[in-house]
């Protein structure tokens, strides 16, 4: 593909039922990565009391079908020595397997079976709720977990980004009672129009398509789009504090409402670069606060790619509580500078070069290729976005960066949360 940043030729096919399969042949030694990307995540948990359900449901997908009950499924996975797992985020749920190419048909059969015929008893459902609560307990000991819960809850009023992917704790506790709801969840979201398969590695695309048609062809349409309430524009700054029960250095998280992923939105694309330019590890502020003054353990920014309005965040772990205001003001000063002074053109070009090589170097195994594409596929439905996005990034000028800084990084879009440890 001349002019494409994506170094592999790929083939794509859409079945009559809407299931899309993207095949990426690679020179990999007999290995295949198989991703089933469900375009549903915690964003789609619109019903009250059901936060965390997309993630919980991911667990249930390992509980088997009538054809292959859970223990049989596990036993086959063990036999083929697959590296199999899954994860859930705000915008997607991904099921992924790495395995030897000879096992492709068995994997297609098993994956298609559980996506169409999942079946579990209520007792198994309730037991799995315990494992999910265990995952929550494991996470809550981390300060960033506590911080994110607070930030999302404070920054959003009505949109489902108000809760983290694992959900509110009270909803997790109530999960065992939601057996009937879970069946509806499956019927609404686990439908071919809402799923994209990405198969990368040592594959023959036409043989792969034949298998996919054979096993997924009978899967019935029926996706019901959830009515996710848009978050109204924020009117003024929000400030919050949260306590962490253990001991930690304080963390400050400064978040701004941004925009959803859109390669045509030049402000959005410029903001992807702005985060790195202003707060990345060769930024002036990083060097000042981390290396020269040594007032922070780290500082960084996150500009995510989402279906709906996400938070553009700048976070820092600060060595002394007395410096929290200073760090916050330094962040604000940096953003003001980016609004008024166009960024150095060489720095911008260096970042573009970095992004290109970072992308290319990450595409080294079938799993990294398929996994690296998962979010873009989930948010946009395909991988055309890769070239669109990198193409647009190449066109970003210092003026675009200034424009993005002015648009997003303003007080009325801002939420600030400070986390402090209880124990000294």
């Amino acid at each position: 593909m001349a002019g494409s940043i994506f170094p592999y030729e790929y083939k794509q096919e859409v079945l009559p039922n809407g299931l899309k399969v993207i095949m990426i042949p690679m020179d990999s030694p007999g290995l295949v990565a198989y991703y089933s990307i469900v375009r549903t995540g915690s964003r789609d948990e619109v019903e009250k009391g059901k936060s965390g359900f997309a993630h919980f449901f991911e667990h249930m997908m390992f509980r088997g079908t009538k054809n292959y009950p859970g223990p049989v499924y596990d036993s086959i996975m063990t036999t083929i020595g697959a590296d199999a797992n899954a994860y859930t985020t705000d915008d997607l749920t991904a099921y992924h397997l790495n395995f030897a190419k000879d096992d492709l048909e068995k994997v297609v059969e098993l994956e298609s079976d559980r996506f169409q015929n999942l079946s579990y008893p209520e007792s198994g459902f309730q037991t799995e709720a315990g494992a999910v609560y265990g995952e929550y307990r494991k996470g809550i000991t981390q300060p960033f977990w506590v911080l994110n819960e607070k930030m999302q809850n404070l920054a959003y009023d009505v949109h489902t980004y108000k809760h983290t992917t694992i959900g509110f704790e009270e909803d997790i506790k109530a999960m065992p009672q939601a057996f009937e709801y879970s069946k509806g969840f499956f019927n609404r979201f686990y439908r071919p129009e809402n799923v994209v398969l990405v198969v990368a590695g040592d594959i023959d695309p036409s043989a792969t398509v034949t298998l996919v048609k054979k096993y997924y062809g009978g899967w019935e349409k029926g996706y019901v789009q959830p009515q996710v309430t848009p978050e109204p524009p924020q009117k003024k700054e929000r400030i919050g504090n949260v306590s962490y029960s253990g001991k930690t250095l304080p963390i400050i998280d400064i978040a701004y409402k941004g925009d959803a992923l859109d390669p045509e939105n030049t402000d959005y694309v410029a903001s992807l670069l702005l985060g790195d330019l202003a707060f990345g590890e060769n930024s002036d502020l990083y060097k000042k606060l981390y290396i020269q003054e040594q007032k922070v353990q780290f500082i960084g920014a996150s500009i995510p790619m989402n279906r709906d309005v996400p938070l553009f965040e700048i976070y820092s772990m600060v060595k002394s509580e007395n410096d929290l205001d200073y760090i916050r003001d330094e962040v604000y000063k940096t953003l003001e500078t980016f609004k008024t002074n166009p960024v150095d053109a060489t720095k911008l070009e260096n970042l573009k070069k970095r992004n290109k090589y970072s992308f290319l170097m990450g595409l080294d195994t079938p799993d990294n290729v398929a996994g690296g594409l998962a979010r873009l596929v989930a948010v946009t439905g395909g991988i055309d976005i890769v070239d669109q996005l990198y193409g647009q990034m190449e066109k970003v000028t210092p003026e675009h960066i200034t424009s993005a800084a002015k648009k997003y990084f303003v007080p009325e879009r801002r939420t600030v949360v400070v986390l402090k440890g209880v124990q000294k």
């Binding site: 790495n98 007792s123 315990g130 000991t141």
Partner: protein, 500 residues
């Protein structure tokens, strides 16, 4: 033609092979992957936390960071970050008890700019005070806050290793002790660097799409390191464990993490190791639902997020799904890892895990589980090292363990050779049930201690109905006797850990 290509790629998966005029030798490991558009480096110095001087625990780790996270004689740290930035490249140090590895990777397009930065970091570190202050602050924060309060899973493992190897050079974690780290001076770092970063104490690994010139340059430059000695320490001899020796770390926690184990005299490469690897995989393959402990504690009872076992050190298990490279050591432990369970289920979960282990030790594996597991491993180890960097890491570990050929290749081959009798013999020889260190991170330590030494039954309640076979098994677990003596239990407040 296609067949030839296939054979070649399969070979390169596991074997370090000749590259044009450059060949692997006693100081060089080369792994040619012609289609790889990147080059990976791993320079292994035979030094680790076991070489930390008393009172300076953490010095090996800090010295390594002073090479990779700090200035060189040519560039300030800020300048290094600026130069690496457009290349999307970096280099890092990892220190374990016996190995320190400086690793890095660059796209071939950028090698000319990357290579001098990488070699200068090793050969000409500036060793400046402000860099040392910054790195010490990071390590101290890890020990004081992150490890003690934010990661109960790693905490349990860290305490277990410290307890088992107490009084030996392995007896402190790689990051060291808080007071020791604070006491480290620039002179300490300089002395440690001069003593251990010598031309007689390293093996260099290069992988990917490199050429002969690069290898020659690297070898020539590293030959410029000063003359020294090649570290050759004997493996440590940990104190014998007498029965169940329990350490309860008390902290205000809603859930309980458990790690337990005992030292073993078995290293990868020997047939017995691969035999025991089959038993261990069945009992507790890391982060895999094939793990029997996972099945008993999580899958059937929903008590936690996972339960695994190990016959090799596996740091960062919460983050990694496959075994890490270059954490090799000449003394390993057998280890069971119970991820956090609700405090009310802690005694039950401990009993459940120990009961399963005891049954395996006493009865051995069944033919059915043996067949299933060896077939599983034969394919599963293919996923252990998909990248050039990981394969290069394994190749260096092969040197460390003096494996005949490649460990991963041998692993697969052994799955066809090992019999059930081999596995059960290895279990009998290397595992035993009675003498074990148990580390429990929990609240209300005294209450836990009383329950343990009194063998108090640990009834369990569920939020969902359970099948009859599970409930029947529960009756046995609830009163499964643990022979724990009062004098064999010690409790430690979390704030007292890793201090000095």
């Amino acid at each position: 033609m296609k067949t030839i290509v296939r054979i070649f790629t399969v070979l390169t998966l596991f074997v370090s092979i000749h590259c044009g005029g450059s060949v692997s030798d006693d100081k060089t490991v080369l792994l040619t992957v012609p289609n790889d558009p990147t080059v990976s480096f791993r320079v292994w110095f035979k030094v680790g936390s076991q070489n930390d001087p008393p009172g300076k625990e953490g010095l090996a780790n800090i010295t390594a960071s002073m090479l990779t996270d700090a200035a060189t004689k040519q560039n300030s740290y800020e300048q290094i970050l600026d130069k690496l930035y457009p290349l999307a490249a970096s280099y890092n140090a990892s220190t374990s008890v016996e190995m320190t590895v400086i690793s890095g990777r660059s796209h071939k397009d950028n090698l000319k700019e990357y290579f001098p930065l990488f070699t200068q970091a090793i050969l000409e570190p500036a060793l400046k005070q402000d860099d040392l202050d910054r790195i010490k602050s990071r390590v101290t924060n890890y020990l004081e806050n992150i490890l003690r309060y934010a990661s109960d899973e790693e905490l349990g493992k860290a305490v277990l290793y410290n307890e088992i190897f107490a009084g030996t050079p392995y007896g402190h974690i790689d990051e060291g002790l808080i007071e020791s780290v604070k006491s480290i001076t620039l002179d300490d770092v300089r002395g440690f660097y001069q003593e251990h970063y010598t031309k007689d104490n390293f093996v260099v690994g290069v992988g990917g799409g490199f050429d002969d010139t690069l290898v020659r340059q690297l070898k020539e430059q590293l030959a410029g390191l000063p003359v020294g000695k090649s570290n050759k320490a004997l493996p440590p001899s940990p104190k014998a464990i007498n029965g169940m020796e329990v350490v309860i770390v008390e902290k205000d926690a809603a859930s309980t993490a458990i790690s337990m184990g005992f030292p073993m005299d078995l290293l990868r490469g020997s047939k017995e190791w691969y035999a025991l690897a089959i038993a261990n995989s069945w009992l507790g393959e890391h982060r895999n639902s094939s793990s029997h402990l996972y099945h008993v504690i999580r899958e059937s009872r929903g008590l936690n997020y996972g339960d695994y076992s190990y016959i090799e050190n596996f740091p960062n298990g919460g983050r990694l799904s496959m075994p890490p490279q270059n954490v090799a050591r000449r003394k390993q432990i057998f280890e069971i890892w119970i991820r956090p369970v609700p405090n009310e289920a802690r005694h039950f979960a401990l009993r459940a895990a120990l009961r399963e282990f005891q049954m395996l030790v006493e009865k051995g594996m069944t033919q059915e589980n043996f067949e299933l597991t060896r077939n599983f491993l034969k394919k599963y180890v293919l996923h252990y090292a998909p990248t050039t960097m990981e394969r290069l890491g394994y190749a260096l570990d092969d040197r460390f363990y003096d494996v005949d050929g490649s460990h991963l290749e041998r692993f697969r081959k052994m799955m066809d050779e090992i019999t059930l009798a081999d596995v059960n013999a290895a279990i009998k020889k290397h595992w035993q049930y009675g003498d074990m260190k148990v580390v429990i991170i929990t609240n209300e330590a005294e209450k836990m201690k009383d329950a343990l030494v009194s063998n108090t039954p640990s009834p369990i309640t569920y939020t969902s109905p359970k099948p009859e076979d599970i409930l029947t098994e529960d009756k046995e677990i609830i009163s499964f006797p643990l022979d724990i003596k009062t004098e064999s239990v010690k409790t430690i407040p979390v704030a007292d850990l890793f201090v000095k």
